[in-house]
């Protein structure tokens, strides 16, 4: 068994209807590291996550988790195997309170007795959420909703976290906070696969980077060397966005 890599993608092909999005994607994600996926809009990054989590039927190819074939497993089986997923966009239960939303993050816990403590710890970590613990989640601001989702996704003890653009809508301070948590998790041995458009900041805290374009892996390298590559800066990191002073 490959102990270095927690997740492997072998020639995965899949898409929606007659559109093929993942075009023989191949990649290996390291255990205990943060890997950031970057790429243009529509490259298939979110689709890749859906494929891992069993939300997208594949046409061919295999996905291995800890060396075992998990292609076509249901979300529940992936959760039980130790993978959790925080999707892109707005994914809350609008009419439940913030606290109840959080608690639902622990549904898949094997031993639910520890749940209240975890929820409490999470609320402590994000005081904005604590303030609104008993409000209906739909009344949160856009950023607060995203934060709630991220917090909910971190309630379990997964081996691998899939997290799709957590920084959208978060203030810079909050982005730092979330990235800090991710680093903390990594340090305690959790593997993290992250999609970010906020690529510079994300790569700066990552160990590895993965560039996806047109559903294929372009570059797989350490984060540092991707950041240093001028070609990549030009193509994917928005070379034109220099602050005017």
């Amino acid at each position: 068994m490959d102990t270095d890599h927690i997740l492997q993608f072998n020639g995965v092909v899949g898409g929606y209807g007659k559109m093929t999005i993942l075009n023989g994607t191949t990649a290996s994600i390291r255990r205990g590291k943060i890997t950031t996926v970057i790429g243009p809009n529509g490259a298939g990054k979110s689709t890749m996550f859906k494929a891992i989590f069993g939300l997208l039927p594949l046409r061919s190819g295999r996905i291995l988790f800890e060396g075992r074939d998990v292609t076509g497993h249901t979300p529940r089986r992936m959760l039980d195997a130790g993978v959790c997923y925080v999707p892109q966009g707005r994914n809350i239960f609008p009419e439940l309170s913030v606290r109840h939303n959080l608690e639902l993050g622990g549904v898949a816990l094997k031993d639910p007795s520890g749940l209240p403590d975890r929820v409490a710890a999470m609320l402590k970590r994000f005081p904005i959420l604590a303030e609104k613990a008993s409000s209906q989640a739909s009344t949160l601001s856009g950023g607060q909703q995203k934060l709630l989702e991220v917090a909910r996704g971190l309630l379990l003890d997964p081996k691998l976290i899939l997290i799709d653009e957590p920084s959208i809508g978060l203030s810079p301070l909050m982005v730092q906070e979330v990235f800090g948590i991710l680093k903390g998790l990594r340090d305690s041995g959790v593997s993290i696969l992250l999609i970010e458009q906020n690529a510079k900041q994300a790569l700066q805290m990552s160990d590895y980077g993965l560039v996806l374009e047109l559903g294929q892996t372009r570059i797989e390298d350490t984060a540092a060397s991707i950041l240093a590559d001028p070609r990549i800066a030009q193509l994917f990191l928005g070379g034109g966005l220099q602050p005017a002073s």
Partner: protein
């Protein structure tokens, strides 16, 4: 005065039955966005199950009632969910609504064609005796109905708000995709609501049929009453459905006594429209605001 009191109590008893139907209705709405236009038929039918058990198989009344509830849970709960709702959940609300309209038609016609087109007498569950309480004549049957309905509702409310399963059912209701991602067994949760709905409907059926007589067309009135109760009470609230049911029951009875007969059917409907216009969140509901 005694007359009004009698009317109110009779209204509460029927209202409690409406509430049972209304709760099931809101539950289905919550978990699977099913506006069940067959809800009235769900209340009509179980009485026929009991009749079949009694008249065809000759079973005793209590056993027949039990059988009716079980068969309802099986047919109107599980089979309905698996055969009608499941294939349509992903197709959006309208096809499902249409399907339930068709199902209502199917059950109505089915009861008529396979049992009888005619009303059937149905035994009282409680002795139909009068007792005099503080000078007011009350019927034992009405009190019994009221108590049963309220007890069932209270238990359900506790289940939904206090237990993990209840919470997961609510989560499923609001966002099944995300619920699935978090590991909620969405299918099972939805199935539970259908089972609960069927059981509630069966109970309502056994309670109402002695008064209405069992007839295939009873569903029309009952369904309407359940919708009105659900909306008046607040569409997404179990508590509200009780208040709505009781209110509709009482108003119904008072209207029958004091409003021109030609238009008395319209009184609950006017109530409905007023609520929709001025208090769309319902009697006990909270106002939902959406942020953009």
């Amino acid at each position: 005065m005694a007359e009004i009191l009698q009317l109110v109590i009779a209204g509460l008893a029927t209202g409690a039955i409406y509430a049972l139907a209304a709760i099931g209705f809101t539950l289905l709405w919550q978990t699977s966005q099913t506006i069940n236009f067959a809800q009235g038929e769900f209340v009509m039918l179980p009485a026929f199950f009991a009749l079949v058990a009694m008249n065809w198989f000759g079973w005793p009344f209590w056993l027949s009632c039990l059988v009716a509830i079980l068969v309802s849970v099986l047919l109107l709960g599980m089979v309905f969910k698996v055969i009608v709702v499941d294939p349509m959940l992903k197709q959006g609300v309208l096809p499902l609504v249409i399907s339930t309209i068709a199902l209502g038609l199917l059950l109505r016609e089915g009861a008529k064609d396979f049992y009888s087109a005619e009303a059937q007498p149905f035994p009282y569950i409680f002795p139909d005796r009068q007792v005099s309480v503080l000078g007011v004549q009350l019927s034992l049957s009405q009190i019994g109905v009221l108590l049963i309905a309220l007890a069932v509702i209270a238990a359900l409310q506790l289940f939904l708000s206090r237990t993990r399963t209840g919470r997961q059912m609510q989560a499923t209701a609001q966002n099944p995709t995300v619920a699935r991602i978090l590991g909620v067994p969405v299918e099972r949760m939805i199935l539970y609501t259908f089972i609960i709905n069927a059981a509630l409907a069966a109970m309502a059926s056994l309670l109402i049929s002695p008064i209405y007589l069992a007839k295939f067309s009873n569903g029309e009135h009952l369904g309407l009453a359940a919708f009105v109760a659900a909306i008046v009470g607040g569409f997404n609230q179990v508590r509200g459905a009780i208040a709505g049911g009781l209110l509709v029951g009482v108003i119904d009875n008072l209207a029958a006594a004091y409003v021109s007969t030609g238009y008395r059917q319209s009184v609950p409907l006017i109530l409905l429209v007023l609520f929709i216009l001025f208090r769309p969140q319902g009697l006990l509901g909270r106002r939902e605001e959406r942020a953009v």
